[in-house]
């Protein structure tokens, strides 16, 4: 099966500083890939490089085998859809209108139908006509997720889709994204909650100081060594009946502190 996304030695510089160095990554249909790493590690830069939003200093980024730099806007939107971390909206569009912006490739009636369907999936049908600026942050996040779900791209990229959501909404969001992978799409998400990542993702990519330092299944990547070196945590993922749970505290700290 051909990769929906591939990075080969991708590097990105911000002025003199190299914020992504020699990243290799391949993502195929049906995968839910979690990109993890501390703040400022380069997770968003990795995504932006793959999407063609960040200029590569070296290396290549391909979507469905095609160089992302050579894709026209319409072709690129056919291959990938993006949910950025930024949730600020300029105007108070109705929720259904925001969701319908994921379906601009379809006639208005079909776009509206796709939007309403996506809003139902994120459990926001009752607020379909409400302006997004009159909603709570969590409700707005769901509406923006609905826009992502309303697209038809084979690859979905979501930057911190669960940030600021309550626990139930976090699970719900990742469940919805998992459903998408079962339907044959590939999904890449950046996450900060390691427990959530361990339970939801098929594969974990750990980024640290602009480099991919681990890539594989949960047990191979989120090892006690990785937790210590990358995240500064002493501990491990512990299997429970509900799934894996992170049991850790800050490394090099007395056990009385968190």
């Amino acid at each position: 099966m051909s990769a929906l996304l591939s990075l080969e030695g991708a590097s990105v510089s911000l002025g003199e500083r190299r914020v992504l160095a020699g990243a290799d990554l391949t993502v195929s249909a049906g995968e839910l890939v979690g990109v993890l790493g501390p703040n400022g590690a380069g997770k968003t830069t990795l995504l932006r490089a793959a999407l063609g939003l960040a200029k590569l200093a070296s290396g290549r980024a391909r979507l469905s085998g095609r160089d992302v730099a050579g894709l026209g806007p319409e072709e690129r939107a056919r291959l990938v859809a993006y949910l950025p971390q930024e949730r600020r909206l300029a105007w108070s569009l109705a929720a259904w209108r925001v969701a319908s912006l994921g379906a601009v490739d379809r006639p208005p009636a079909l776009a509206r139908a796709a939007a309403l369907e996506a809003l139902a999936r994120v459990e926001m049908s009752r607020l379909a006509d409400r302006g997004v600026l009159e909603m709570s942050g969590g409700e707005r996040a769901r509406v923006l997720l609905a826009r992502l779900l309303a697209t038809r791209a084979p690859l979905l990229v979501a930057d911190e889709p669960v940030a600021g959501l309550d626990a139930e909404a976090q699970f719900h969001t990742l469940d919805l994204l998992r459903e998408e992978t079962r339907a044959g799409r590939a999904v890449i998400v950046t996450l900060h909650d390691l427990t959530l990542a361990a339970r939801a993702c098929d594969r974990i990519v750990v980024v640290d100081k602009g480099r991919i330092v681990a890539d594989g299944g949960v047990p191979e990547t989120l090892t006690p060594d990785c937790l210590a070196e990358v995240f500064g945590l002493a501990g491990a993922l512990v299997e429970t009946r509900a799934g894996a749970v992170l049991a850790a505290r800050r490394a090099d700290r007395p056990s009385t502190e968190l």
């Binding site: 806007p73 993006y82 108070s92 569009l93 912006l101 600026l133």
Partner: protein
Amino acid sequence: MNPAVSSIRLIGGLALLLALLLALGVAFGETQLSLSQYQQAFADPASPPGEVLWGLRAPRVVAAAVVGAALGLAGAVMQGLLRNPLAEPGVLGVSGAAGLGAAVSISAGLAVIPGAVEVAALAGALVAGGLVVIAAARFREPETLILFGVALSAFAGALTALVFNLSPSPITTSEVLTWLMGSVANRDWPDIGWALVPMAAGAGLCAYASRALVMLTLGEETAALSGLPMARMRAAAVAGAALLTGAAVALAGVIGFVGLAAPHTVRWGVGGDPGRVLLPSALAGAGLVVAADLIGRIVPSEVELKLGVLTALFGAPLFALIAWRAARSWRA
């Protein structure tokens, strides 16, 4: 209610209101006519009352409507593009540059050549518009574009002040000042016809860019990956707004506030949609300027009140009222 239906209702209502204002603008003015004179004007357009209605007032009222529509549309486009409720046609420095073009041509004594001042104003707007289009292609962040526009505006303002400074006579200074205050007095049909050419081109570009404005609501990166040709649409929006503003300034001088206020008077009716707000903003802008011009003509005063003065005088309190009521949604 279906959003398309409410949008059509809003447009219909605004069109009716504008038609009423146009009719009032033709019917009333400084010269009061008797009923029989109105009858004469309708029966014989070449008669003296007919000349007042159709030769003087009608082109003036239409010029006011055209200028208002152009400014309202340009304002709505700028607010959508810059994602800022405070944006207006002047924010990119285009109207300042158009004013500068006119000021330079008047003080150079070119006002005696028919159309020279208008062409100079439009040329000023196009130069500034070109610079802003280049800046918009280079900087995607609205803040950068706003700062660039502020710099351009300040520079055009300084050069206009320099024109005053170096002005050969107080008469020229007064001419420039009068022009800058804005007026649609003594505009005739050919003037309007000429202005309509760049305005139609500008409106076409804005209509093309309207989908990009909606997408920009979600931010630059989402828009960039939406599948729309954002670079082209952004350039179209800036060029369209520059053409509209330049042509409006060329036809009537600098008329402030309409571009800022018109979109806010109708935004509630389109659910905040920056694409759907374009046409209603044009209609509202037209109505505002026609009404302001009518007030300027019927308020008894020694000197005729300038249109640019009136739009700001009545527009500012109206705008404050709208801003007050809308503050809740902006704060979110």
